[in-house]
C-alpha cells in the first residue's frame, strides 16, 4: 500500500490541475494548473523507474547492487525542459494579453465571433 502513494499523488495532482484549468478564471492560475498536470506526469515517470533500495544510475564509483532505471529520469528531464519553454511562452503571452485587455479574466478575453 505504502508504495502506491506516489500513484495517488499523481492522480491527485492531475485532477487538481484540471480543476484549476476548468474552473479558475485567472490566466495565471490556468498556467499553474498546466504546470500541476506536468508535475503529476513527471512524478509518474520518476516513480516508474524507482526500485526499493536502489542507487543512482551512475557507473563511476557505483557501490553495486540494484540501480534505478535511468531511462524514465531522462524522459522526465526532457519533459521538464519542454515544460520550461512552454511556461515561458505562456507567461509572455499573458504579459501581452494584459497589455492589450488590461485584464486577466479568461471570460473577458475570449469571444472571437
Amino acid at each position: 500500500m505504502i508504495y502506491n502513494i506516489p500513484y495517488f499523488a499523481v492522480i491527485a495532482l492531475i485532477l487538481i490541475g484540471l480543476y484549476a484549468i476548468l474552473f479558475r478564471r485567472n490566466l495565471i492560475k490556468i498556467v499553474i494548473g498546466i504546470t500541476l498536470i506536468e508535475s503529476g506526469v513527471n512524478l509518474f515517470l520518476i516513480t516508474l523507474g524507482y526500485r526499493e533500495g536502489s542507487t543512482a544510475p551512475i557507473y563511476t564509483l557505483s557501490p553495486g547492487g540494484i540501480m534505478s532505471m535511468p531511462v524514465p529520469q531522462a524522459l522526465t528531464l526532457t519533459s521538464i525542459v519542454i515544460g520550461v519553454a512552454v511556461l515561458a511562452l505562456m507567461l509572455s503571452f499573458i504579459i501581452h494579453i494584459y497589455r492589450h485587455y488590461k485584464t486577466l479574466d479568461v471570460r473577458k478575453i475570449g469571444g472571437d465571433d
Binding site: L18, L22, R25, V106, D112
Partner: protein, 119 residues
C-alpha cells in the same frame, strides 16, 4: 517508377469509375451545343445603349453600393429556419479556453465509458 500508361487509365472507385478526361470532353461538347444555340439569338443587341439598363417599372436605378447584398445578409432564410441549431452552436462556441479543455475532458470521459464499459 511512374507507369506512363496510368495517365490515361480510368480511375476505379470500387463501385464505378471516374475519368476527368471523359468528363472534360463531355463538358466541351455541352459548351459547343450552348454556343450553337446561342448563335441563333437576336442580332439587334447593342452594348452601351438604353437596351442594357435595368428596367425597374419605370423607377430610376438605385445606388449600386446599396443594392449589393452584404455577405452577412446572404443565406438569411437558411439561417432563420435553422435558428435553434445556430443558437446552440453560438452558445457552445464561447471562445473561453476553459470550455475548450472541458470539451476535451468530456470527450475523454465518453470514450473511457464506452471503451471500458462495452469490452
Amino acid at each position: 517508377m511512374i507507369d506512363w500508361n496510368s495517365f490515361v487509365k480510368i480511375f476505379d472507385t470500387g463501385a464505378g469509375f471516374w475519368s476527368p478526361i471523359i468528363w472534360l470532353i463531355v463538358i466541351l461538347f455541352a459548351l459547343l451545343i450552348v454556343y450553337i444555340i446561342r448563335s441563333y439569338g437576336q442580332k439587334s443587341y447593342k452594348k452601351g445603349t438604353e437596351q442594357t439598363k435595368p428596367f425597374l417599372s419605370g423607377n430610376p436605378e438605385g445606388d449600386r453600393e446599396s443594392s449589393h447584398v452584404k455577405s452577412s445578409n446572404l443565406y438569411w432564410g437558411f439561417m432563420e429556419s435553422m435558428r435553434l441549431i445556430y443558437k446552440f452552436l453560438s452558445n457552445i462556441h464561447t471562445g473561453n479556453v476553459s470550455d475548450y479543455v472541458l470539451w476535451f475532458v468530456v470527450i475523454m470521459g465518453i470514450f473511457f465509458i464506452v471503451i471500458m464499459g462495452v469490452n
